[in-house]
Each structure stands twice: as structure tokens, then as C-alpha cells.
């Protein structure tokens, strides 16, 4: 499970991506100060739900579902952790990854392209997420 509590933030790079939109889209705005035009920021606002509701996503969901062991799964939500563990071990996880997080990664990619100097961090961040799961 992904557990990331960054105490203090401390400028840690793994935390930056997670709080990026707060730094860019929240915080005090004062009319007398110029807000510098920030090219590329609007990319953050793309509605990923459009991506989710696509035929491509449907196919990925269906394929992920086809890989589920339906005999083991239904009516046993209490056994989730155990089942997820088995799936991870069997390697199915790598393949099903993406039905849900694909859209998020699309956004990550778009944002990554929109800024300079973010590549290294982005890679670290995603790698950290994978490791953490």
C-alpha cells in the first residue's frame, strides 16, 4: 500500500508532485501583485474523466476483469488483502496496472512534457509509487 506521510514537506522531491497543484492553484492572491503568466499550468486542469470513459479504457477494464480469478473473488471482500497479495505474487498486477492509473499517468506525462527539469523527479516519483504498492 502506498503510504507517504511527508512530515514537514522539507522540500523533499517525492512530496513536490503531490502538492504541486496547491502551490500553483491555491495560496493568497493579491491584486496589486502581478501573477506571472505560467505557461503549461493549464495542462493540470485537463479532465481525466474524459480519458476514463473511452473504448480503450473499457477494453482495459474488461481485460483486467478477465484476468481476475472469479471463483476466488466474489462475495469475499473481507479477503481482499490476501487476494491482492496473491495477484501481486502471480505477476498479474503488472499487466492490469493501467486500467485505472493509466489516465493519471497520461496527465503526469503531459505535465512532465510541459515543464523543464521535471523528468528526473517524475521518474523517481512513479518508481517510488510502484515500490510502495
Amino acid at each position: 500500500m502506498t503510504v507517504a506521510t511527508q512530515q514537514g514537506g522539507g522540500g523533499g522531491s517525492s512530496g513536490l508532485y503531490d502538492v504541486l497543484e496547491l502551490i500553483l492553484d491555491r495560496g493568497l492572491v493579491i491584486d496589486a501583485f502581478v501573477r506571472v503568466s505560467l505557461v503549461g499550468i493549464e495542462i493540470l486542469k485537463i479532465d481525466i474523466r474524459i480519458v476514463v470513459a473511452s473504448v480503450d479504457t473499457y477494453l482495459r477494464f474488461a481485460e483486467a476483469c478477465n484476468r481476475l480469478d472469479l471463483e476466488a473473488g466474489p462475495r469475499k471482500p473481507a479477503g481482499l488483502t490476501e487476494l491482492t497479495g496473491q495477484l501481486t505474487e502471480s505477476g498479474a498486477r503488472g499487466k492490469t496496472k493501467g486500467a485505472l492509473s493509466g489516465a493519471a499517468e497520461t496527465i503526469s506525462d503531459a505535465f512532465q512534457q510541459a515543464r523543464d527539469g521535471g523528468r528526473e523527479h517524475q521518474g523517481d516519483d512513479r518508481a517510488a509509487r510502484r515500490r510502495g504498492e
Binding site: M1, A4, T5, Q6, Q7, G8, G9, G11, S13, L16, D18, V19, E21, L22, I23, L24, D25, R26, G27, L28, V29, I30, A32, F33, V34, R35, V36, L38, V39, L44, K45, I48, R49, V52, A53, V55, T57, Y58, L59, F61, A62, A64, C65, N66, L70, G73, K76, L80, T84, L87, T96, G98, A99, L100, A104, I107, R115, D116, G117, E133
Partner: protein, 262 residues
Amino acid sequence: MGTYVYGIIRASHSPLREDVDGIGDPPRPVRVLRQGELAAIVSDAPEELRPKRRDLLAHQRVLDEAGAGGVVLPMRFGSASPDDDTVITVLAERAGDFLERLRALDGTAEYNIKANHDEEAVLRLIVADHDDIRSLAEATQEAGGGTQEQKIRLGEMIAVAVQAREATDAELLHQALEPMAEAVSAGPQSTGWLANLSFLVDRGSAEQFLAAVDEFRQEHPHLELRVNGPLPPYSFVGTPSSQQAEGGTAEAFGAAAAQPNR
């Protein structure tokens, strides 16, 4: 090119560490401008200001450092004044507002939580909860994967169920943690999370808040939570645009779930 403004503090705020780097390359030294009971944390603004990682980090780090010594009103990234005098004038003219806001935020910190589904876990929940999806999934598997049309139909049913589940789970998270916080603000949407919520938490009860987060995590193992905090109270400084967004998550996600084909 002017004066870059990081945040507003009380004039009585603990002195900032001297070695904190501001934005720019090379990093501009951070200074404090005082006016009456207030002060602004500033540096010279670089010639060209862009949302580069280094500068975003510098902005965050300066505010983090300031927050360690007392309450701070964080500016949004990219706020520059023509000169120091304009900053002083703003502090004088809006002293009442700023002092009121500093009082309201005294002793608090922002905790941002982003939630996502664990893919397999939520698929299992959905198959278990929806007889129609389970039947179709079983039929599709027996047919060795099914035709393209069957897959699309199954996938669409799952997508609708997942979106409904996202809305439910966002609301669950909101309701579970709201009692532990002074205020809740929905973060900017559509950055790849089913819920993006900021909680204003009294620093004295931060431990209880984080314990509640862990409890929620254990009760809902199909959700992945990413917690960031304590942060400067970006979402609670009272900028009109952020106030509009407050409390909008459940409705917005509900609407999204109701129109999955949008």
C-alpha cells in the same frame, strides 16, 4: 524585475534561518519586509519566472521554513510586486484582513490527502457487488475472453461502477476525516485522483488526525491514500477562487459519476 513575495507573517514571527535559498538561479537571498504588525517574506524576482521544479521547490521550502516558526499566509506561486515599496503599501492597506486571517490560522497546518483505487481490489469489489457484471464477466471468461463487443460492454459497465465507487469513496473519506479538522477544502480537480482533499488541522491534534487516516486506510484497503503535511495553509488563506471550490468535491464527483459518458 521586482520583488517576489512568498508569504505574509506577523512582524513578531521568529527570525527565518539565514541560509534558506529563494527562487532563481543563482538563488536570490530571502529577505523580510516589515510594516507595522506585519511582515512579508520576499526576495528579488528573477528576470524570467517560470514554474520550474527548482523554483517551485524553493517557494515551498521558504514557506515550510517560515511555517516552522509561526503562522504564515502562503502566496500562490508566481506573485511578484513591482518593488519593495508596493509590498509595504499592500501590507499597510490590508493589515486588518491579513491579521484576521493570521489569527484564524494560528496553530494550524494543512494536510493534503489524495486517494486512488487499488485497481485489482476495486475490480473485485465491483464484481462482488454487481450481479450483472459478475454474470457477464463469468460468461466472458468462459468464452475465452469474449468478442470485442462483449469486452466493450463489460468494460463500460465496470467503468460506470468504478466511477460510482469513486464518488462514494471520495465522500467516505471526506466524512471520515472532516470531524478531525477545523476546515476542509477540495483541492483542484482532475489531476488523476478520485479525491483530493485538504484538511486544516490544529497542530496540537495532528497525531489524532493521522491516526484517523491510518484507521480509515485499514478499514478501506481498496483505497490508496497519499498524505502530505504539515503544509503551509495554501488552501485556507481565503482567496476567493479557493473558497468557491470548497465543499465541492462530493457534488462534483457525484455529477461525474452520473454522466460517465460525458
